[in-house]
Subunit: 299 residues, 2 copies
């Protein structure tokens, strides 16, 4: 019954019985630690997708804080992530009535070390830290809300039925993550694979799961990085675009159905670029905004 | 000789002699701690400006890491900040050849406690944490750079000479920070103070220091939050717009002279809004981008 995505972001708290108590455990700042794994199949040429990694860390943070929705979450990407067991340490920063803030660190764990890291020696960290996250969370279903005043509108997109399924396109020959997804790409933005970038710096499409899992606030973090870089539709090589940092603002839980995704890169300057994202649900609600800083692709 | 801004973001490392060594000091993850102060005069109605607080934390991070420029920095605002002594703990996350990543925590310190916090009891934190920061730093002057491909251009702005000085306007009656600055506001965006919001959700202007301090990467963090919220130019009350999170990408060190600043809020939805910023130097280089998530103002 569990969806493929939920299995891929599952986390298991490392319980008291599996580790020795230490001085730091009595501090309110002590970490809650989770065993998890970077699952195969959520990758681009062998390295896990940045949105997937953010969603995996977010799942640990929502478990640790008891707050279901990241209102704003920032991840700094510290190392490429092949499929691997990981340990995620979540540390509370602040717990308020409406919002809570926490950090998460994701460590790549050597397969051979898995039993040892459960002992959590104070000061000793397992393997290499691959992701550091800072997030402020709340509960969108009970949030008090407030005024609405929209001066922007949803960008135009080719209808769902007229967009090719990404896993049927040549994009799937490097972005294997799309095998898990029912993502569709606006045909105006897919020519880069045939050496015909649009020149607009845009990448538009529809995001959904192949197994119809509902798109909640955690899935939106995946959606925020699930499309090819919009820089591929500029006059740049279609090569790796390493993300330094990704921030996502979740603005609402989407209505049922796929979400429309709009990504754009406007400023590639001295080897650095931004990619801005907007995600809208089928009822016309802005459900997320994203921005990342990345290195421009090179030959 | 030292500029007012440099005095306001000065940090002093808490040296070994002023504290007892602890177990955590031998860890590569141990904090480097700084004494500092939230200076008076960088506030809006008594609470320190969010960009100023980010710059103060960034100064501690650049000192601790030896890297001069935040390429991407995110701050989560945890409490209002009146003028106060603070302690800033910087913890390294990763140190690579080109980039380093670190966190900073800023604690408000009771005046009475200042000598005591220097002792840094393990696990005991002074006062309330008011700011948590996550940043990736490098050196823009030696960065290897890479391709440039700009599909966006600098927005249009009223020339410097034709923009009123903010400290001469009624904006200064609540945003006291402008007494330190030579900021100018585009006259098309200043009508909100007379109850005539433009309706565009924009706030444009020029940023400079009153004492002509050069605008470096740290000053850009201040500039990213130095103007009135662009939401004041929508149909919303001109009341406090509490920032939950601010992220700034520094893309280049500005050429000499003021920088042109463009802020825009497009989506005020259910009490949450974003404010996006672009900062350009006089030579036409994009020097920074910013985005914040804030609570919409209420009556």
């Amino acid at each position: 019954m569990t969806s493929e995505f939920d299995r891929a972001i599952a986390v298991t708290e490392i319980t008291e019985s599996s580790r020795e108590p230490s001085v730091s455990d009595i501090s309110p700042r002590s970490a809650v630690s989770y065993d998890a794994a970077i699952a195969p199949g959520w990758d681009i040429l062998g390295n896990a997708n940045g949105g997937y990694l953010m969603a995996l860390a977010a799942r640990a943070i929502t478990e640790a804080t008891g707050r279901p929705d990241c209102f704003t979450i920032t991840a700094h990407y510290l190392a490429p992530c092949p499929p691997s067991p990981v340990r995620i340490d979540v540390r509370p920063v602040r717990s308020g009535r409406r919002f809570g803030t926490a950090t998460a660190s994701m460590f790549l764990v050597d397969h051979a070390e898995v039993p040892a890291v459960r002992e959590r020696e104070p000061g000793r960290e397992p393997g290499r830290e691959a992701l550091r996250v800072l997030a402020t969370l709340g509960d969108l279903s009970t949030d008090p809300g407030g005024p609405t005043s929209m001066s922007g509108t949803r960008p135009e997109i080719t209808p769902w039925d007229e967009c090719p399924v990404v896993s049927d396109t040549s994009i799937n020959s490097f972005a294997f993550i799309h095998d898990r997804l029912a993502t569709r790409i606006d045909p105006r933005d897919s020519g880069f694979r045939e050496g015909k970038p649009s020149g607009t710096g845009t990448m538009r499409g529809w995001f959904a799961f192949k197994d119809d899992r509902p798109i909640d606030s955690t899935a939106l973090l995946l959606a925020a990085d699930a499309f090819p870089p919009p820089a591929f539709n500029l006059d740049l090589p279609t090569n790796w675009v390493p993300t330094l940092e990704l921030t996502v603002h979740v603005r609402a839980v989407p209505a049922p159905g796929p979400v429309a995704c709009f990504f754009r890169t406007r400023f590639v300057q001295n080897g650095l670029l931004e990619a801005d994202g907007e995600i809208w649900d089928t009822s016309g609600v802005l459900v997320a905004q994203s921005r990342q800083l990345a290195l421009a692709p090179r030959e």
